[in-house]
C-alpha cells in the first residue's frame, strides 16, 4: 500500500546541503574541513548526509564520542578520519583504537588510558589546550607537563600526536584573540618537546568564515553546513549558505480565523515564540498565535484552508523564516531550534 507523505515532516534539501558544503570548503581552503555530525548530523540524519559528504570529498568527520565515532566509521569505511573528543578514561578506548578513531584528549587520565589502548600501532591523538573556555582541555600551567608526557608516549610508539587543538568562546574578538595567542604559545611549547603535528585546529563555523587567521590546518564546521547562521548575524545570504532543513505540516482545521497545525511544544516548537514569529504558506507569512503541547495555531488571514501546507522554518521558499529567526525571537541560537525538532518527525530527503 502506498503511504501518503507524512502530514508533518522535516524536509532535508540535499542540493542545498551540497552547495553549503562546497561554499564552506571553498571559503576555508586550503584548510581542511572537518564536517561535524554529532547529534545525528544536528538532527538531519547521519545515514544520508555522512556518506554523501564522503562522496563529495570530505575526509574528516567530527563525531563527539566513541559510540558515535564507531557508528560513523561503519558509514564511511576505512579511509576517512573520524574525530571523537568527549572522552573519559572509562570509555572503550580499545574499540576506538581498533576503529581507527582520532581521539581529542584534554586530560592527563584520558591520555594515559588512550596510550594503554595502543595495540601494534599507536593511538592517534589530538592534544587539547584550554584557551579559556574552561570545558575540556588542559590548563596552560599544566600544558608543558602534558606535552612532555605525550612526547614520551609517542617515542614509545604508543600514541601518535596527529593534532593540537582548542575551542574558542566567541565572547568577543578580543577574547578570541587572547585565546589564539594562548594557542600559538602552546604550539611553540609542543614544538619544544618535538611535537609538530600535521593538524592544528581551533575554529568552528563563525571564526573559520570570518577570521582567516583562525583557520590553521583544519576547521570544524557543523552549523554552516546545515545552513544555520549565528543569531544576530551575519545571516545566511551574507554567508552564502541556505538552510537545509524545513519543518513542514498541514492545516488540520480553520476555526475562528485561526489555522490549527498538528505540531506543538512537544515536537520541539518553542512555546515562547507565540506571537513573535510567522510561518510561511504559499509565499505569504502568517503570524503564530498559540503554541500548545501538541498543536499550534496561526492567523489564517482569510487565506489558509484545511490541508494547506505550512512551513514553520526553512530557507524561505514558502515565505517562512529561518530557524535562526525563530531562535532570535526567543533569545537562543538556531542550533537549539533545529536539534530539538522531535526525532520521531520523519525526515524526507530530496
Amino acid at each position: 500500500m502506498t503511504q501518503p507523505e507524512p502530514l508533518t515532516h522535516a524536509r532535508i534539501d540535499l542540493r542545498r546541503f551540497d552547495r553549503n558544503l562546497a561554499v564552506v570548503r571553498g571559503r576555508v581552503a586550503p584548510a581542511e574541513t572537518m564536517f561535524v555530525v554529532k547529534n545525528d548530523a544536528y538532527a538531519h540524519g547521519v545515514d544520508v548526509l555522512v556518506p554523501r559528504a564522503a562522496r563529495a570529498g570530505i575526509r574528516w568527520f567530527g563525531a563527539l564520542d566513541v559510540e558515535t565515532a564507531l557508528r560513523l566509521r561503519a558509514l564511511v569505511g576505512g579511509s576517512a578520519r573520524v574525530f571523537a573528543w568527549l572522552l573519559s578514561a572509562r570509555d572503550d578506548l580499545g574499540a576506538a583504537t581498533e576503529g581507527g578513531i582520532d581521539l581529542g584528549v584534554g586530560d592527563r587520565a584520558v591520555l594515559e588510558a588512550a596510550a594503554s589502548a595502543a595495540t601494534d600501532r599507536p593511538v592517534r591523538v589530538h592534544l587539547k589546550i584550554d584557551t579559556g573556555l574552561n570545558r575540556n582541555g588542559v590548563r596552560a600551567e599544566q600544558w608543558p607537563f602534558f606535552v612532555a608526557r605525550a612526547a614520551q608516549l609517542q617515542s614509545e610508539g604508543r600514541i601518535r600526536v596527529e593534532g593540537i587543538w582548542s575551542h574558542i568562546s566567541e565572547a568577543s574578538d578580543r577574547d578570541d584573540d587572547d585565546a589564539r595567542r594562548l594557542f600559538d604559545e602552546s604550539l611553540v611549547a609542543a614544538e619544544g618537546v618535538g611535537l609538530a603535528p600535521e593538524y592544528r585546529h581551533l575554529a568552528a563555523s563563525a571564526a573559520s568564515f570570518l577570521r582567516p587567521e583562525f583557520r590553521y590546518d583544519m576547521v570544524r564546521i557543523g552549523a554552516f553546513v546545515y545552513g544555520i547562521s549565528p543569531s544576530g548575524g551575519p545571516h545566511e545570504p551574507e554567508l552564502g549558505i541556505t538552510p537545509v532543513m524545513s519543518l513542514r505540516t498541514r492545516v488540520v482545521e480553520v476555526r475562528s480565523g485561526e489555522a490549527i497545525l498538528p505540531i506543538g511544544a512537544w515536537h520541539g516548537v518553542p512555546s515562547a515564540a507565540a506571537g513573535l514569529v510567522p510561518v510561511g504558506a504559499g509565499g505569504r507569512r502568517h503570524t503564530v498565535v498559540r503554541i500548545e503541547r501538541d498543536w499550534m495555531s496561526v492567523n489564517a488571514g482569510g487565506l489558509l484552508r484545511q490541508d494547506d501546507e505550512v512551513v514553520l522554518f526553512g530557507p524561505g521558499d514558502d515565505g517562512e523564516p529561518t530557524a535562526t529567526e525563530w531562535a532570535e525571537a526567543v533569545g537562543t541560537i538556531g542550533e537549539e531550534i533545529v536539534v530539538n525538532v522531535d526525532r520521531r518527525i520523519p525526515r524526507i530527503y530530496r
Binding site: M1, Q3, L7, K38, N39, D40, A43, L64, D65, V66, E67, L86, L87, S88, A89, R90, D91, D92, G106, D107, A109, D130, G132, L133, N134, R135, N136, R139, S169, E170, A171, D175, V252, E253, R255, S256, E258, I260, P262, A265, W266, G268, P270, S271, A272, R293, D294, W295, S297, Q306, G331, T332, I333, E335, E336, V339, N340, R343, R344
Partner: protein, 343 residues
C-alpha cells in the same frame, strides 16, 4: 562517553502508584501515554499503565498505536489524532472532531471514533448544542465514545455540563473529559473515564502545583574535574566569570538532550548529594558546574532533574526559567538519553 553517560531513569513503582490513584478517582481511566509516553518511552510506560489498571491507553496517532500492537499490548487504544500510516486490523479507536477527521480515521484503519466535543474554548471538536452537527459529525463512522475538550479558562463544571448535554443527544455512549487538573479538583467521578496524562508521571500543572510523585530522573556524568582561577570565563560567550579560585566539573547533558540552553547560570544539578550550580552557557552536549566544596571525580553521577522531595532539581524549576509548561520539559528529553526502568 559511555552509553550510560546520559540517562532517564523511570521508577515504575511510582508510576504504578500514580496510575492507581487516578484510576480510583473515576469509573475508568484512559492513561495518556502519547508522545512516546510523555518522553519516558512508549512501550515500557504503556505496559506499566496497563498492568496498573488503566482501562484504555491514549496515544498520539495511529503510528504509536501500531507500535504498541506490534509489541503485544492488548489494552484498548485511542489515537488522539487520526494521522499516521494506514493499517488495518490494529483494533484502534481514533479521536475525530469533524467529518474530515472521521473520514481520515476510517480510511487509515481505525475501527471507531471518539467524537471530539468542544466543551468550551477548544479549537477542535463539534459544539454540543448543535444536535444536527453531532449526528453528522462522524460522517457514518461508528462512534464509540464522546471525548470532551475544553481550554484551561473554561470552568470545569461548565465543561461537564456541556459534555452531559452532548451525551444526552448522542445517547448512551461512554464519555470522557477531565484530565489531571480536573481530577485533582474533584471532577470526573460521573464520567465513564478520566483522561489523565501528566499526573501519572508526577509532572506539575502549568501553575507548577504538584500532581503526584515524580517518576523520572535525568542524570549526566562528570567528565572531568579541573581548577578555575578568579576572573576566568566559562563556556560560550563567557556569560559566567569565576568570582574566586575554585573547582569546576564538565558534565554530560546539553541542549540536544533537552537541557535548555537558557539554564546556564540559573539552575542547579546535584553531585554526590549536594546542589551545585550550572555555570556558563549550556552547550549542545555538555554543561559545566561550579563544584564549590563538593568533591567529585570523573564518572560521578550528576542529577539534572529528579525529585524535589529529595533535594533534586525539579521540572518546575526548569519550567520557571524557560517559561514553558513543565510537561514540555519532560517531552523534550532528547533521543540520545538512555531510558531505563526499575521497580
Amino acid at each position: 562517553m559511555t552509553a550510560d553517560s546520559r540517562r532517564l531513569s523511570v521508577d515504575l513503582d511510582r508510576l504504578t502508584a500514580n496510575v492507581r490513584r487516578y484510576r480510583a478517582a473515576a469509573r475508568g481511566l484512559v492513561a495518556r501515554v502519547d508522545h512516546d509516553g510523555f518522553g519516558l518511552g512508549l512501550l515500557a510506560v504503556a505496559r506499566a499503565c496497563a498492568a496498573a489498571g488503566a482501562d484504555m491507553l491514549a496515544v498520539a496517532d495511529l503510528d504509536e498505536a501500531a507500535r504498541l500492537r506490534e509489541h503485544g499490548v492488548e489494552t484498548p487504544l485511542l489515537a488522539l489524532r487520526p494521522v499516521g500510516a494506514v493499517r488495518r486490523g490494529a483494533r484502534v479507536h481514533a479521536a475525530a472532531g469533524s467529518p474530515h477527521e472521521a473520514a481520515a480515521a476510517v480510511s487509515r484503519g481505525a475501527e471507531a471514533v471518539h467524537l471530539v466535543v468542544d466543551c468550551g474554548g477548544a479549537v477542535r471538536g463539534v459544539r454540543p448544542q448543535d444536535a444536527g452537527e453531532l449526528a453528522h459529525a462522524a460522517d457514518g463512522a461508528p462512534v464509540a465514545a464522546l471525548m470532551g475538550v475544553a481550554d484551561a479558562s473554561t470552568p470545569r463544571t461548565r465543561a461537564s455540563a456541556a459534555l452531559a448535554a452532548a451525551a444526552e443527544i448522542a445517547g448512551g455512549i461512554p464519555r470522557h473529559l477531565h484530565g489531571t487538573a480536573g481530577v485533582l479538583a474533584g471532577h470526573g467521578a460521573d464520567d465513564d473515564y478520566v483522561r489523565v496524562g501528566r499526573g501519572l508521571y508526577g509532572i506539575p500543572l502549568p501553575d507548577r502545583s504538584p500532581t503526584g510523585s515524580p517518576v523520572a530522573r535525568l542524570t549526566g556524568r562528570v567528565v572531568t574535574v579541573k581548577r578555575i582561577r578568579a576572573g576566568e570565563g566559562v563556556s560560550y560567550g563567557y556569560i559566567y566569570r569565576a568570582p574566586a579560585d575554585g573547582w569546576i566539573a564538565l558534565v554530560t547533558g546539553g541542549y540536544a538532550d533537552g537541557v535548555p540552553r537558557s539554564l546556564g547560570n540559573r539552575a542547579c544539578a546535584v553531585v554526590n548529594g549536594r546542589r551545585v550550580r550550572i555555570i556558563g552557557r549550556v552547550a549542545m552536549d555538555v554543561l559545566v558546574v561550579d563544584l564549590g566544596d563538593v568533591t567529585a571525580r570523573p564518572g560521578d553521577e550528576a542529577v539534572l532533574l529528579g525529585d524535589p522531595g529529595n533535594g533534586e532539581p525539579s521540572v518546575s524549576e526548569w519550567a520557571a526559567i524557560t517559561g514553558s509548561d513543565p510537561v514540555a520539559v519532560m517531552a523534550a528529553i532528547g533521543p540520545r538519553v538512555v531510558r531505563s526502568y526499575a521497580r
